[in-house]
Symmetry: C2
Subunit: 361 residues, 2 copies
Amino acid sequence: MAKRAYNFSAGPGVLPESVLREVQEEMLDYRGHGLSVMEMSHRSPVYQGIIDDAINRVKRLMKIGDDYEVLFLQGGASTQFLMIPMNFCQEGKVANYINTGAWSTKAIAEAKKIGKEVHVAATSEDKDFTYIPKEFNLSENPAYLHITTNNTIRGTEYKHIPELPAGVPIIADMSSNIFSKPLDFKRFDVIYAGAQKNMGPAGVTLVVIKKEMLKTINKNIPTMLDYSIHASKGSMFNTPPTFAIYVVGKVLNWIEEMGGLEAIEKRNIKKADYMFNIFDSSDFFRGTVVPEDRSLMNIPFRLPSEELEKKFLKEATESGFLNIKGHRSVGGCRVSLYNSLPMRAAEDLAKFMIEFEKNNK
Amino acid sequence: MAKRAYNFSAGPGVLPESVLREVQEEMLDYRGHGLSVMEMSHRSPVYQGIIDDAINRVKRLMKIGDDYEVLFLQGGASTQFLMIPMNFCQEGKVANYINTGAWSTKAIAEAKKIGKEVHVAATSEDKDFTYIPKEFNLSENPAYLHITTNNTIRGTEYKHIPELPAGVPIIADMSSNIFSKPLDFKRFDVIYAGAQKNMGPAGVTLVVIKKEMLKTINKNIPTMLDYSIHASKGSMFNTPPTFAIYVVGKVLNWIEEMGGLEAIEKRNIKKADYMFNIFDSSDFFRGTVVPEDRSLMNIPFRLPSEELEKKFLKEATESGFLNIKGHRSVGGCRVSLYNSLPMRAAEDLAKFMIEFEKNNK
């Protein structure tokens, strides 16, 4: 029996143990077909069944209908930073972004790099991205508004979807909180998310696009960067990352078996509360985000000194709590409590933190 | 004990059973670290060890030194069709291609689509791409010559590397015959290959670039399409397809344990000869490629009639020989005998074919 660590990695992150066991069992012989999913032609009926199943689960969890395309692409959110303005910012229009941290900043830079006019409709840079801007002002002729619904590094999360004037599409990078709670997904025109935080292994990016948006795509886009080409071929214009999609399907199945997004959210709140209760009951462990915008997924915090942080990180790692160092750009500590992290891991970490505070106050 | 099929798929293709068993064993707990490779931070020392190991194996098998960069990217060869001209065809220069089939044709189309001047230095289109052109003529000011060393659909393979004037880089798509035989890899300036045929699962593309080439890259390329950015970050500008790279490392290890490329080539010749001997000894099964350019990897053939082909495909599939239908664009039959296909599979298929001929002549 494998001993499983408590893995608080910000991504690639923890996966459900039951999913890994299924993948393990099917490794040499997928359901009597005599081959691994890794070895299957993507054009085979068996594999078509696997990708169709994953697409249908996305649609069920999002409660979206056939007016949306569900794509599985490659290149991570970083490639979406390029594809979004290239496809959806038309001549004479302005790409609008709300800047809530490192990833939004990169998305903005990429839109500028390919020559698009960019307007930053709001930013929380003034306070080190420790909150979500509640107000924003769009430019004239906005092509779209782009938001990052959860900020992996700074640990902030949108609690409300911004209200936009009719006709302005809203595009969201949901890489680090996708499927962590119920959301009115139908309010979005484009949703994208790298799989490696809350959905599966690295190497596949979920992209959900309202079909109407496909009609607005710019002309003369390179083939592999054109959403309409991927959509017209059901993500099979070229060989998709077949195995990663298969694992994503299993994780989505696990979410449904856990009771869907409502149940998952309850569980995520309970896990995060282990941390928030510590922050709110003492000033030894200090959450860095304004309470109303705290992410349930990524929770950064500081200790009274850098020496104590070093000591805490060392002792935590030795005690089997892995990957709780803050992102190299901000320092301190950070725990990521993705869907698949067992309740027990958060509970035990909380106990460890309370004990550490007692011993080091 | 899993019953393994004989899998002649053109890609994603068969993998070594021993590799799948190792992946299976390590699925929940990679070497005592308490997590799956899928769950590992790409910034962790353990994962850095995994990718470094894969890079070193590529360098050993190719016998190349530190004057080359070894990258693991996403998006398949189709994305390379775009990145190659975007990075390496400078203003005023001409992208040269030898057209040997469907993949070269797509590479040429993509270079044109992004506005590059393209010259087709040779083509075998006149005879349905059933041979490799031995002569070619470069344009004035060639940026590079691009070749496809093995043609998955038509079943032709280069036996000699084209000789070029000094200063003209040679770029090769080796997706379907990479590491199938020893080759003077040092003669190439850029080599790329989707992993899913001879190296691992779909979702990772090996790109090997002479470092000198990185100095010639065009300016203002979108971040994710710029080889120099991926090279400067050791393929970790963004999250790489961590699990797929791990499997590739294991397949390369398997090649080394099998005795390296010399031993692999001997084995591949022996497997292919099972087919070629049948073609050469009767005209019932008819290889479609001129004998001197026959690929060891992908072997297309026809039967005396479409009715017999249908019957043959049906009976072969029922007897457990999977994926031997020809590509939908050309019809007929095709077997792919990638490195990992067991000798026994080729031997048993040959027996089956001889028996079928006897019964249906």
